[in-house]
């Protein structure tokens, strides 16, 4: 049976650990974590940053939001009037997370209407903000901004200042 889980000091040269590196490393079925390649890892605590050949910078992770009742939830609803924003409270997992919103409003009026659940920036440590701005149609141009409702979730960020990482 191959050794698949290493918690402690790795000296696997294929992972760049020849000098020894402490962490948690898990390899795929049938692959030895002490000699596998980066492509054969399914989990790694290495935070390699922008180094060439880096495999991962962390795990895709949902940030809990706090509901109006004070519970931890994965999604919260919001309502915003035209041009306004809504601030939702998150669990503090550090600043720089990504706000992912959707608009659920059904436009029943016989007029041109639009609304967004976009975030003008990254979330702060405890607040995720969505902004309801107007949208533009490729034919008609700007569409009248109206109030909308929707829901958001928040995804853990990694580096809010880097254009690429």
């Amino acid at each position: 049976m191959a050794a698949r889980i290493l918690l402690g000091k790795s000296t696997n040269s294929n992972l760049g650990h020849s000098s020894g590196k402490f962490g948690l490393y898990i390899s795929a079925n049938g692959k030895d974590v002490t000699s596998c390649t980066k492509n054969e890892l399914t989990f790694s605590t290495d935070h390699i940053g922008n180094a060439s050949g880096a495999i991962d910078v962390g795990l895709f992770q949902n940030v809990p939001l706090i509901s109006s009742g004070g519970s931890e939830v994965r999604v919260v609803n919001f309502s915003t009037s035209a041009g306004a924003s809504a601030a939702l409270t998150t669990k503090n997992m550090g600043a720089g997370s990504i706000v992912y919103g959707t608009v659920t409003t059904n436009f029943t009026s016989n007029t041109n209407q639009s609304g967004t659940a976009a975030s003008s920036g990254f979330a702060s440590a405890t607040t995720a903000t969505v902004v309801n701005s107007g949208l533009t149609d490729s034919d008609t141009g700007a569409v009248t901004n109206v109030s909308v409702s929707g829901s958001i979730s928040v995804i853990k960020g990694f580096n809010s200042s880097a254009a690429l990482f």
């Binding site: 889980i5 054969e40 990504i98 436009f107 990694f158």
Partner: protein, 172 residues
């Protein structure tokens, strides 16, 4: 307090398992947060970035393309921008629509991904009296993405790559 983390033998193999808050890792009632016995990609983030305004980002410029099994794959990319929204427009347009036609587009922050780039795309004109892609219809026209934020996941997600060769680590 429930036992949420198991590191060691689970009775059949050595593993690391993590249960959800309030769930027992030895007899979980919900899917585990992490299970090393499942030998598939675990949502590792390979790269990411942001742009204030762009129609195309070379997401591989820093890290290089994502190579799995010796092949550069098209990855699953989580992306959002200022067009996370919905609009409805009715007739009176210069092309594509006429008369009583209308279109309602939901959450149209749409993107095209390749082995190196993330491109903003939009829905093109749809004239019901015409048919076929040569009339400039369907989705695929480029658009400028503003307030773009994205994460590239170490998960293949494209025709030709969603097979055991690429979806299971270390099989080739």
């Amino acid at each position: 307090m429930t036992a949420r983390v198991l590191l060691g033998s689970d009775g059949s193999t050595y593993a690391l398992k993590v249960a959800r808050k309030g769930d027992n890792v030895l007899s979980p009632s919900s899917p585990l947060l992490y299970d090393s016995t499942r030998s598939y990609w675990q949502g590792q983030v390979y790269a990411g970035g942001q742009a204030s305004s762009t129609s195309s980002v070379n997401w591989a410029a820093t890290k290089g393309s994502l190579s799995i099994g010796g092949t550069n794959v098209i990855p699953l990319i989580f992306a959002t921008d200022n067009q996370r929204g919905k609009y409805k427009t009715i007739a009176s347009v210069t092309s594509g629509l006429d008369g009583d036609d209308f279109r309602e587009v939901s959450n149209f922050a749409t993107f095209e991904t390749t082995t190196t780039s993330l491109n903003g795309v939009q829905f093109s004109n749809k004239n019901p009296s015409l048919s076929g892609a040569t009339n400039g219809e369907y989705m695929g026209g480029t658009r400028t993405s503003t307030g773009l934020k994205f994460l590239v996941l170490k998960i293949p997600c494209a025709f030709g790559f969603m097979s055991n060769t690429y979806m299971q680590p270390g099989t080739s």
